[in-house]
Symmetry: C2
Subunit: 395 residues, 2 copies
């Protein structure tokens, strides 16, 4: 049996014999990583910004630092065998300094930059032959309008750093909206890029887990259904030709190797009439992989841990013919999901995941996964439970 070259058997054994994975950030991704760590006897320590964050509420080992500067993270990293991330918010120069001090970051600073700096990512991917939409850096209002003159309105402006869940992305329909955005962005100093607006047939995501030693596995491609810039629903398998999923999987594996990703990497893809385009990259467990907890032979959270520890990766095959995951997102006038949980549990054959976060409109509060034999029936069940958790009422 191969695969004995991981962290347990070499340099990373702590006093109690269990490896310590430090996770910077304590959102729901860290929370679900902890859930996956316990059966593997892996200790996860989280660095939370506040003690009431999702993972901080349930973690056995929590440190709190509202600051993501070098010193608090280095102090945290000193107690960890390997450091990984729940978000992309640690500044690139801080990541590089941590590596210079000898801390083991997975993903490393160089790979993480692809998720942190959208302009860098676009340039490098384009140079590497990966399919991306036409783009350019925006240093003036003219850059926006010239780009639109070449590619046609609308165009998509993006913050180079820090956007997510629809924040930091603006669809500009004409010169007036471009001027309005520019006056705001130039005032705040937010660096921007602009991209072609691509008519999308579907949005897909391909998830890869990759070890430092190079072993990589890819999950079945998932269709993501978005609204208001947030992912609402995942359906596996996705209803596209096999040639498309094969291409998406190959692209994701090639990309993970090209950027030396370690841990989980999610590639969000646009399926257009002309083929696949890379939309976004994330180098961490990702919302598009929540279906894997029940729907895959190994969850993305377990494979993230195995990957960052350089352990053999788990199988990614489907457990059931169909898996549907629906996000529970706070509604205007909605309810606290935990207060109506028993109603959702009465829906047969659904798995509810609450993140322990207080209700707020637009906030991701949990998700529901259903397994089944047939897409429509499975979707109906998952949505029924999710709707109850969002509104308290059956749809």
């Amino acid at each position: 049996v191969d695969g004995g070259s991981g962290i347990y058997e070499s340099d990373f054994v702590n006093a109690t014999g269990t490896p310590v994975v430090g996770m910077v950030g304590a959102g729901q991704l860290a929370r679900m990583t902890i859930e996956a760590a316990t059966p593997l006897d892996v200790t996860v320590r989280v660095l939370a910004a506040a003690s009431d964050e999702s993972a901080a509420l349930i973690a056995r080992h929590v440190e709190v630092s509202p600051s993501l500067e070098l010193d608090p993270i280095a102090a945290f990293a000193a107690g960890c065998d390997v450091v990984t991330f729940d978000h992309e918010l640690v500044a690139p120069e801080v990541l590089r300094a941590l590596e210079e001090r000898g801390h083991v970051l997975r993903p490393g600073a160089a790979a993480e930059l692809y998720a942190q700096d959208k302009l860098y990512q676009r340039r490098e991917l384009a140079a590497g032959g990966f399919p991306v939409p036409a783009f350019r850096r925006v240093e003036s209002l003219d850059d926006l309008t010239d780009f639109a003159a070449e590619h046609g309105w609308p165009v998509v402006a993006k913050a180079v750093r820090g956007g997510y869940d629809g924040r930091g992305v603006w669809v500009l329909s004409d010169a007036g909206s471009a001027a309005e955005l520019w006056s705001g962005a130039s005032g705040t100093g937010t660096p921007l890029l602009v991209e072609q607006f691509v008519p999308i047939e579907r949005e897909l995501a391909a998830l890869v887990a990759r070890r430092p030693s190079g072993e990589a596995v890819v999950y079945p491609v998932v269709e993501t259904v978005q609204a208001d810039g947030m992912c609402r629903e995942l359906v596996v398998p996705c209803a596209v030709p096999a040639a498309v999923t094969t291409e998406a999987s190959a692209l994701a594996l090639r990309l993970a190797e090209a950027i030396d990703a370690t841990g989980i990497m999610a590639v969000e893809l646009f399926l257009t009439r002309e083929g696949l385009l890379v939309n976004e990259l994330a180098l961490r467990p990702h919302n598009s992989g929540h279906w894997t907890i029940e729907g895959a032979q190994t969850s993305q959270f377990e494979n993230h841990l195995r990957a960052v520890l350089d352990w053999p990766l788990g199988a990614t095959g489907l457990v059931s013919p169909v898996t549907v995951t629906v996000n529970v997102i706070g509604r205007q006038g909605g309810v606290e999901p935990r207060e109506v949980l028993p109603r959702a549990l009465a829906v047969p054959g659904v798995r509810v995941h609450l993140y322990g976060k207080g209700y707020r409109p637009g906030r991701k509060l949990g998700h529901v996964t259903a397994l089944g034999d047939e897409v429509d029936e499975t979707r109906t069940r998952a949505w029924r439970a999710a709707e109850l958790l969002m509104s308290g009422e059956a749809r």
Copy 2:
């Protein structure tokens, strides 16, 4: 949608809005209950005998009391909405006193007695028409030998209280071994019963989850493979005629109602030439249900929580055609499973659960579950990973 009558919506909401389940005992059953609690946003507090117990190592909320007397348990229960158990070690009179003080125990003291006092259980079950082996109370050596004269050697002597995993059970082959046991037992004052030795074709287990309001669900019947008094392997579905599994399921549901079980109840059954006999009862999550974590639509640990909180119970159907679970039990000259974990993870398509317990021969250290389409192939995979965890070597 029905099912809104649970604890969240009535009397059991704590300050943070999540219900608090107290678990007395901090072994692997409590550890896996905590794993199931997080996605439901349920807080589990454990009362550990020592801070290095399996669940105490990972729990966010731990109290330590080596004593299981009334005062420490009452103090613990005061911070819980409902109290449940990882073991049967709390004395019946302590349980009754806790209920008299108004603490909510699930299972209650009266039901728990069936798992704590084997003589009481045998008498009540026989009186209720449930199939049990012939038995009698042992108050003298003559009781043993008279019983054997009537039913034939060998006979099975059992401690009325406290036995588990083969401890507290003696197969007596003749009058000499009976005299030897009696001289020891009468000296220590251990109350005994004696039972007919029943030729067993197979051992089965039926798991029920039952709410205080009466809703109950039963899991597919599992075959348990025992050695040295400990369960080694679980196979679902079990290879017995449907009439047998139907009878076992009906028996378990009837029994749960008869004794007013709440939470998970496991009925260990002997399949004999004359039919099914009740072997043992446990009123808690049980080793025979570990397969449900991956293999059933809802795990026994989640359904235990839902049941003790009086929430709607989850579906118990199979996720895969075959599920096999193999226990990882410390071998003479064995290894620490955590030190060889990466080797086991290289076995494709297995789920490893380590309990965080240090290696000791005969100790349950973890389990491995494999899903598959066919029993032999699935067993082979599960055993390969379990063997690696027990010996460090492939079999």
